[in-house]
């Protein structure tokens, strides 16, 4: 069985979203393909998945034990060799054709939805199908955790245009945009937050950031995180706070393009 995503991820997602079908706006191919691969990987019991694009059925796929076991039906836009596979148990040798098909059907700029139902016929356990991890590799995608060794550094790099300063305990703030006003009072306030004892750190789970706005500087927002026992902070414009928070939350869920 594939270990992506982990059972913990699946349960966390179910707890966060309920079991209803969710609509995903997927602007990029990585997000669209990642959505479908996640849906396949999350199926433990056999399921017939209907993928909808803009509310219209795009394709039907059968998944079991985190594997793609069958292409149930495909649109005319799918490659002919893939349509010839429809209805038959998939084998590993079909990997390239299946990946090419997913790449063609999921180019991005899509409104995707996944509906799940028990399959009409249970899949043949002797034909396990294609592992999602193999599809990831064939599509040139990688789960973010596999390619981002330091999420904090990745965020600082990705959000550089919105960053005003980065603050580590006991160090002077590293100003990203020195022209931006950051008062001495605010610097002191942040250092107080970072100096032990740090009650704010109790709010944070692993890889969480607490973003908040301040009464003293309503135009600015602070993002507090921790590395081990030590907190650290970034300062951004308050208007960018929700966007940076959304990026951070989605970071673990959107696959990244990488070399095959």
């Amino acid at each position: 069985m594939t270990d992506h995503p982990s059972i913990a991820t699946i349960l966390a997602r179910a707890a966060a979203l309920g079991t209803d079908s969710q609509t995903l706006t997927a602007p990029t191919a990585e997000e669209a393909q990642g959505f479908v691969l996640d849906a396949l990987a999350a199926r433990i019991a056999p399921r017939d998945l209907t993928i909808l694009d803009g509310g219209q059925p795009l394709c039907r796929l059968e998944a079991a034990a985190g594997q793609l076991s069958r292409l149930v039906s495909l649109p005319d836009t799918a490659p002919a060799e893939a349509r010839a596979l429809a209805g038959h148990p998939l084998m590993f040798t079909d990997l390239e054709t299946v990946a090419r098909t997913l790449a063609r059907l999921l180019p991005g700029d899509q409104q995707l939805q996944c509906r799940s139902a028990p399959p009409a016929q249970p899949p043949d356990p002797a034909q396990p199908g294609i592992a999602v991890d193999a599809l990831y590799r064939q599509l040139g995608l990688a789960p973010p955790d596999a390619v981002i060794p330091d999420r904090w550094a990745y965020l600082l790099d990705a959000a550089e245009e919105m960053l005003i300063a980065v603050v580590e305990p006991g160090k002077a703030p590293r100003r990203i945009y020195p022209d931006h006003s950051m008062t001495g009072a605010l610097e002191k306030q942040i250092q107080t937050l970072l100096d032990p004892p740090t009650p704010s750190i109790n709010l944070l789970d692993k890889n969480e950031i607490l973003f908040f706005t301040l009464a003293s500087d309503p135009d600015l927002a602070i993002g507090l995180a921790q590395e081990g026992a030590h907190p650290r902070a970034l300062v951004i414009e308050a208007g960018a706070m929700a966007e940076v928070a959304a990026f951070w939350a989605s970071l673990a869920h959107v696959p990244l393009a990488c070399a095959r």
Binding site: A15, Q22, L204, F211, A246, W248, L251, H253
Partner: protein
Amino acid sequence: MTRDDLARFRAGFAHCELVMLADTSAGTVLTFASAIHQGQERLDDLCTTACTLFRSELPVFGLAVLSGPRGSKLFLQSPRDPSEVICAVLGPRADVPTICAALGRLADQESVT
């Protein structure tokens, strides 16, 4: 703000699991609407977080977002009564900026009715 107000709000956004109104002065949950059954413990945890954010030495004012791989939790103080905090629990792919803006409108509406 009624449970129906919160339920309508929640239904308007994919990936919005739970919306809750907490009174941080009393540390109590006033009302909530959720996609799936919520244990009291989870509601109490959210309420405790809201109290820690807005009633401790943390300099938090207005809006706070606790964001991580499991999604985001939004905490917004009511402009009418800052001790009242609207909390929203969102999935990891939620449109946080849009939901934050809508949450602000919901709180503003409440403050003029």
